[in-house]
C-alpha cells in the first residue's frame, strides 16, 4: 500500500519537476525554438499610400480596397468556358484571356483592380481556378479638382505625375510583415509584434491648396474658356506673403481616376511646365526695376514717339495703333504703351535690366516640388541683340511660366521680397503634423518704397487704364493686363490672329492676401486681356476673399457675441 502511494507521489513529483523544468529552466530555449517552428506565420499588412489633403483637411487623394482577378491555369477545368465568362464579366479581350488561362504559368493576372460590379458578377459564376486578391487602388474623390497638380499613380501604386510623383518617397505604400502565432489549422492566435504606423516610413501630405479657391478658379476659368472657345486656360492663386499656392487651375481638365482616357497634353500642369511670352504683364517688372534703380519716378515723362519707333531696322508700334506722345511712367503702364516700356528699359540699361529680371526669378526654376518644372527662356545677356532690350521690355523674346510670373508679382506686392512658392504644407501621420513646411524667403528684389510706388501704379491701371474690368466694388485692386501675340514657329513671326490674354494682379492692394494670374490661350472673338482674363480674376478675388473672411468696404457686417 505504502509502495503504491509512494509510486503515485513519485509520479506526481516527477510530473511537477518536469513541468518546472520546461516552463522555467528551459523557458527561453524552448520559446526561441518555438518561434522558428512553422506555426508562427507572418501577417502581411499593406499600408496604403498616404492620403493627400488640402489645407483644410479635405481629402483629395486616398485609397480604396478593390479586388484583382487572377487564374491558376492548372486548376481551370473548362478553359474555353472560363475564358468566355472572364472576358465578358471583366470587359477583356477573349483571345488574351484564353491565352493566359491556357498558359503553363503558375499564376496569371486577368484584371488588376476590377470594379465591385465585375467582382460580384464573377464570384457568382464560381469558376474553378479563378481567384481574387484584395489590393488598394488610388482614388480621387474630388475627381477633376486640381488633377493636374495632384497627378495620378500607375497600377502598381507608383506616382506617375504631379504631387504623387514628386512625393513618391514620402507617400508610397508599404507591406508590413508581422510575426503571428497560428494554430494547426492556420488560424491566427496572437500577434508577436506591434504594428504601429508611427515607426514606419510613409506619411500623409497636406497641401497648401484650398479646395474652395481651387474650385472657384477652375469653375470660372472653364466658363471663360468655353465662352471664348479658347484652346486652354490657366490660373495661379498664391499668398504673396508666404509663397503658399492656394490654387493652380488648368483647363481643359481630366479625371485622374481614369487618367488613361485623356491625352498627355491634357494631363500637363501648364502653370509650371509650359512657358509663354508674357506680353504686357511683364511691363510692371520694367517699371519696378526702373523705380528701384532710381532712374525714374512714377510721374517722370517719356516720349512715346507718336506710335512708331524704329529699333534695329524694325518698326515697333502700339496696340490698336495708338499714337501716344509724352506719357508718365504711370500712364505708360496704365495704357500699356510698348514704346513707353522700351524707353524706360533703355534708360535703365541692358545690364541693370538683365540683373533685375534675374533677381525677379526669371530664367531659373522656381524650386516648387512638382515634376517637369520649366525655367522659362531668357537669353544670356551677352547674346542679346540690338532689339532684345526693347522686345523684353514689353514681354517678347522672353518666356516665363505662369508660376514664375505670379512669384515675381508677389515680390512687388509683399514689400519687395521674392518668396519661394510651395505646394506642400505639412507631412502628417495619424492626423498629426510631423513636419511643417515653412515659408522661405529667397532674396530682396526691390525696396519697400518701390513696392508702394508700384502698388499705386498698378492701382492706377485698374482705376484708369486697361484693367478697368478688374475693378471690384469695395476692394482696391492692383493689376496689369496683357495681350500677347502668339509666336508661330513655322513662319517665325508673331500671329495677328492668335493671342494669349492675361491679367495679373493682387488684392486687397494695400494689404495683399492674393496674387493671381489668369491666362487664356487663343480666345476667339475678343482677345484683350482686360476683357477676356480680367473678369475671371474678379470672380476668383471676390469668392476667395469671402472664403478667407476678408470683407469689402461696401459690405454690411454684423458681429454677434456668442455669449
Amino acid at each position: 500500500m505504502i509502495f503504491v502511494s509512494g509510486l503515485l507521489l513519485l509520479f506526481a513529483v516527477s510530473l511537477i519537476a518536469r513541468l518546472a523544468n520546461l516552463q522555467i529552466a528551459q523557458h527561453k530555449t524552448l520559446l526561441a525554438k518555438s518561434e522558428k517552428q512553422p506555426h508562427h506565420g507572418n501577417l502581411k499588412t499593406y499600408l496604403g499610400r498616404g492620403t493627400i489633403f488640402d489645407r483644410n483637411g479635405n481629402e483629395l487623394a486616398t485609397n480604396l480596397m478593390v479586388e484583382s482577378v487572377f487564374v491558376v491555369p492548372q486548376e481551370v477545368r473548362d478553359r474555353k468556358y472560363t475564358s468566355k465568362v472572364l472576358a465578358s464579366a471583366l470587359g477583356q479581350n477573349y483571345d488574351r484571356v484564353y491565352k493566359e488561362v491556357s498558359s503553363n504559368k503558375q499564376f496569371a493576372w486577368i484584371k488588376r483592380k476590377a470594379s465591385t460590379d465585375e467582382i460580384i458578377h464573377l464570384k457568382k459564376a464560381a469558376l474553378s481556378g479563378v481567384r481574387f486578391r484584395s489590393e488598394q487602388k488610388r482614388f480621387y474623390p474630388k475627381r477633376e479638382l486640381a488633377a493636374n497638380v495632384i497627378g495620378f499613380v500607375g497600377t502598381d501604386d507608383y506616382g506617375l505625375a504631379g504631387i504623387e510623383q514628386t512625393y513618391q518617397g514620402k507617400l508610397k505604400g508599404m507591406v508590413y510583415s508581422q510575426p503571428i502565432e497560428q494554430d494547426g489549422r492556420g488560424r491566427n492566435i496572437q500577434n508577436l509584434g506591434s504594428l504601429s504606423r508611427s515607426n514606419l516610413g510613409n506619411y500623409d501630405l497636406m497641401l497648401t491648396l484650398d479646395e474652395v479657391i481651387q474650385f472657384t478658379a477652375e469653375y470660372h476659368l472653364t466658363k471663360q474658356v468655353e465662352r471664348y472657345k479658347a484652346d486652354s486656360g490657366m490660373a495661379v492663386v498664391m499668398n504673396p506673403n508666404s509663397g503658399e499656392i492656394y490654387a493652380m487651375a488648368n483647363v481643359p481638365q481630366f479625371n485622374p481616376n481614369n487618367y488613361n482616357k485623356f491625352t498627355p497634353e491634357t494631363r500637363k500642369n501648364n502653370t509650371v511646365v509650359s512657358s509663354y511670352e508674357p506680353g504686357s504683364i511683364f511691363k510692371p517688372i520694367v517699371a519696378a526695376a526702373a523705380l528701384d534703380n532710381g532712374i525714374a519716378q512714377p510721374h517722370d515723362k517719356f516720349f512715346c514717339e507718336n506710335g512708331s519707333f524704329k529699333i534695329g531696322g524694325k518698326n515697333i508700334g502700339e496696340a490698336s495703333n495708338h499714337k501716344y506722345g509724352s506719357l508718365s511712367m504711370q500712364e505708360i503702364i496704365a495704357k500699356s504703351s510698348n514704346i513707353g516700356a522700351i524707353k524706360i528699359a533703355q534708360k535703365l540699361g541692358k545690364d541693370s535690366f538683365y540683373e533685375y529680371i534675374r533677381k525677379f526669378g526669371f530664367g531659373e526654376k522656381t524650386n516648387i516640388r512638382l515634376p517637369g518644372v520649366s525655367s522659362g527662356l531668357l537669353g544670356k545677356r551677352k547674346n542679346w541683340n540690338e532689339r532684345s532690350l526693347a522686345s523684353i521690355s514689353f514681354g517678347q523674346e522672353i518666356a516665363v511660366t505662369p508660376l514664375q510670373m505670379v512669384v515675381a508679382l508677389s515680390a512687388i506686392a509683399n514689400g519687395g521680397t521674392l518668396m519661394e512658392p510651395h505646394i506642400a504644407k505639412a507631412l502628417m501621420r495619424d492626423g498629426k503634423i510631423i513636419k511643417e513646411i515653412k515659408p522661405k524667403k529667397i532674396r530682396r528684389v526691390i525696396s519697400e518704397k518701390t513696392s508702394r510706388q508700384m502698388m499705386e501704379i498698378l492701382k492706377f491701371v485698374v482705376e484708369n487704364g486697361t484693367g478697368k474690368k478688374a475693378a471690384i466694388d469695395g476692394f482696391e485692386v492692383a493689376g496689369k493686363t496683357g495681350t500677347a501675340q502668339k509666336y508661330i514657329t513655322e513662319t517665325q513671326s508673331y500671329s495677328k490672329t492668335e493671342f494669349i490674354s492675361s491679367f495679373i494682379g493682387y488684392a486687397p492692394a494695400d494689404n495683399p492676401r492674393l496674387a493671381i494670374l489668369v491666362m487664356i490661350d487663343n480666345p476667339k472673338g475678343r482677345h484683350w486681356g482686360g476683357v477676356v482674363a480680367a473678369p475671371v480674376f474678379v470672380k476668383i478675388v471676390e469668392k476667395s476673399l469671402r472664403h478667407l473672411n476678408v470683407t469689402s468696404r461696401k459690405e454690411r457686417i454684423f458681429i454677434l457675441d456668442r455669449a
Binding site: 503504491v4 513541468l19 516552463q23 479635405n58
Partner: protein
Amino acid sequence: MFEKSRRLIRGRFHIAQKDFQMIFLASVLVMLAALALVWPNVRKVKLSYDYQALIAEREKLSNENHLLRLERESLQSLYRIQQLAKNEVGMIEPTKGQVTTIFLK
C-alpha cells in the same frame, strides 16, 4: 458511483481508508496544481481567438467607415453641390446688396 469506485480500489489494492484518503487528496492536489498551471494557457488561447476575431471585426468596420467617408467626400464635391444647387434646387448667386457678413465672437 464514487462510493462504488472507492470500494473497488480499496478491495483491489487492500488500502486502508486513511491511506486511501491521503492518496486521493494528494492526487486531487496534483491535479489542481496541473490545472492551475494549464488553465491560464487555455484561457489565453481562448482569449487570443476572441481577440483575433475582434481585430477582424474592427478591420471590417474600419473599411466600411473608410468607404462611407469616401462616399461623403465624393458627395461633397463642390462641382456636384453647385450642379445640384443650380439645376435641382434652383438656387442663384446673391447680388452684392443681398450679402451680409456675420462674424461670431
